[in-house]
């Protein structure tokens, strides 16, 4: 199985996933454990109706005791998530925090099995609304209802995991043990998530990969709050070092939350990357619970970044017209060869982003040097043609850094 482009599922994106023209814009879904548990039938019906590869992310850091950040009050979905980990703790959390020692008292293997059982049973248990979602999908596409058949189990199984500081972190010992248990039960079907805290260097990922038990072929890596726009050359080198360490062990690395910089790393060995639709190219392991629908920004493909609608239009109009987006969505609202984005709906902006991301991946994989040169060209142009009154360098800076970081790896 070779999935390069993962999308995090969210309820608000359902209509988008039904569009046949976006089918080629993603390979597989990451279904948050909160949605899979709390909206068991609805999420199950939708996800299974896609007939597409998916994994269920247990999102265990949501219930991780943190001394660094005061967590907001857990939602009902977080309690539901805890139930598949440990029903007993769900009776008294969050009145009392769950100390790490709670998981170390001998119950951890049972917790791991419970989380994995939820995933293995999902495709047969979460089918109550499958008919409804298959009908909605068929109607949206003008297709016949699919013939009833066997629903697909998750493409990979993800054991519970914690956000860690490094291989000496006691939380890593638990995560590693969970991976071992999962491999014993499910062998090569296991694709764990290695999550590191936002305050540790990226090269901790390589350290964790080196410490993994044998028997894996794929891992997701997640560096908390990693913002590609602020990435340094050292970050990129550390990611690619993790890729090399993993490759030496026969393991492929997928970045769970990334953007265009991750796409640039695909030809250098990164197996894939994931993100939400229109946001969430970065997630903080400590703030998983703080979700919510903010207004979707517009993805400006020339600078490979999201801008608010008010800020994006001046930049679009400032840049040469040949750099404006030519996707179907943007062409439909183009005036003088540039899209007028205030007229786009939220769904339009998300579809535009997915078209852009698909094209970016194709461009990078077909000619990485051309993609790098284009990026450098935009950065240079912005440096000599700043947008009046705006800090233009905020868009040019990441492009320069990415160019240098990736070029250094090619030398």
């Amino acid at each position: 199985m070779d999935f390069q482009h993962w999308l995090s599922y969210s309820h608000s994106d359902q209509a988008l996933f039904r569009r046949p023209d976006l089918d080629s814009s993603w390979d597989a879904l990451v279904v948050p454990g909160t949605l899979a548990t709390f909206y068991f039938e609805g999420t199950g019906g939708f996800v299974l109706a896609q007939r597409a590869p998916y994994v269920i992310d247990p999102r265990t850091p949501l219930i991780q005791t943190s001394t660094e950040v005061k967590r907001s009050a857990p939602r009902a979905s977080h309690l539901k998530l805890l139930e598949i980990h440990d029903p007993e703790a769900a009776a008294w959390w969050p009145e009392r925090e769950i100390p790490r020692e709670h998981w170390e008292d001998g119950r951890w293997p049972e917790v791991v099995e419970s989380v994995l059982d939820f995933q293995t049973q999902y495709s047969t248990a979460a089918t109550a609304k499958l008919d409804k979602y298959e009908r909605l999908k068929a109607e949206a596409r003008g297709e016949q209802l699919p013939t009833p058949g066997v629903t697909d189990a998750p493409a990979r199984l993800v054991p519970p995991y914690w956000a860690v500081h490094g291989s000496a972190d006691p939380w890593w010992r638990l995560s590693r043990e969970a991976i071992s248990i999962a491999i014993t039960r499910h062998g090569g079907q296991v694709q764990p998530i290695l999550a590191i805290r936002e305050d540790v260097p990226t090269n901790v990922l390589a350290e964790l990969i080196a410490d993994l038990p044998d028997g894996l072929t794929d891992v997701f890596c997640w560096k908390g709050s990693w913002d590609e726009a602020k990435a340094t050359e050292e970050d990129v080198a550390a990611w690619l070092d993790a890729v090399r360490v993993a490759r030496d062990r026969g393991i492929s690395v997928t970045n769970l939350y990334g953007g265009f910089l991750s796409a640039l790393m695909l030809p250098l060995g990164l197996a894939g990357f994931g993100h939400g639709v229109g946001y969430s190219e970065s997630r903080d392991t400590r703030r998983l619970g703080e979700t919510g629908a903010s207004e979707t920004r517009y993805y400006v493909p020339a600078v490979h970044g999201f801008l608010t609608v008010p800020s994006a239009q001046p930049l679009i109009d400032h840049l040469p017209a040949e750099w404006a987006c030519r996707c179907d969505v943007c062409r439909s609202v183009a005036v003088n060869d540039r899209p007028v984005i205030a007229t786009l709906t939220q769904e339009d902006r998300k579809a535009h982003f997915l078209f852009c991301r698909r094209d970016e991946i194709e461009a990078v994989l077909s000619d990485q040097q051309a993609a790098l040169d284009q990026m450098r060209g935009v950065a240079d142009w912005l440096a000599s043609n700043p947008v009046p009154a705006m800090d233009t360098d905020r868009w040019a800076r990441p492009l320069r850094t990415w160019f240098q970081a990736i070029s250094a790896q090619l030398d």
Binding site: T308, P310, S311, Q313, P314, T343, A389
Partner: protein, 180 residues
């Protein structure tokens, strides 16, 4: 002739000035909310609005808010008010050029600098000098880069239905900071 009774403002109509704009500035100037009354009164004096013109503060436009927007003769006018952080005001007003027919910054007279006026000029943004009692237009704004860009502040102003006289009454009623 019938008298038109002032309508009550929605609870959120002045959320911005009283909450966000009222914060003290880093220098010893007046709080930004204090610029609101002289600006509205100045626009009345200059004949840019009348008491019945649609007006609003903290007007939402997608992910941003415009400090003050008014509509007069089917033209929208946006003003970003700032006491001392003129760079931020000019950037915001530059963006407003895409969504309003005229985009201005209202800057407190004591901190007005040639650099601020030059930056506003480069950005095509008009400059209003705000004093204790009124405003003085120092520099006119350029025309919008994309007239009729597809929806603008006028829709929000119409939806709110607040008028200049309502806004002034509310400013008085809530006792927003007066200028020394």
């Amino acid at each position: 002739m019938s008298t038109v009774r002032p309508r009550a403002l929605p609870a959120t109509a002045l959320e911005g000035p009283t909450q966000r704009l009222a914060r003290p500035t880093c220098r010893s100037g007046p709080p930004e909310a204090a610029l609101l009354r002289p600006t509205i009164r100045g626009l009345l004096r200059l004949g840019r609005v009348n008491q019945m013109s649609l007006a609003g503060t903290e007007m939402p436009w997608h992910q941003k808010r415009v400090d003050l927007a008014v509509m007069w003769d089917r033209q929208t006018l946006a003003v970003e008010l700032k006491v001392d952080n003129w760079r931020r005001a000019v950037e915001q007003a530059y963006i407003n050029r895409w969504y309003a027919d005229e985009s201005w910054v209202g800057l407190w007279h004591a901190y007005l600098t040639p650099a601020a006026v030059r930056a506003a000029s480069d950005a095509g943004v008009g400059v209003l000098v705000v004093t204790r009692g009124t405003i003085y237009p120092l520099q006119s704004p350029s025309r919008p880069p994309r007239p009729n860009v597809g929806g603008d502040l006028s829709e929000t102003l119409r939806a709110r239905g607040v008028r200049v006289r309502d806004l002034l009454g509310e400013v008085r009623r809530r006792g927003l900071p007066a200028l020394a």
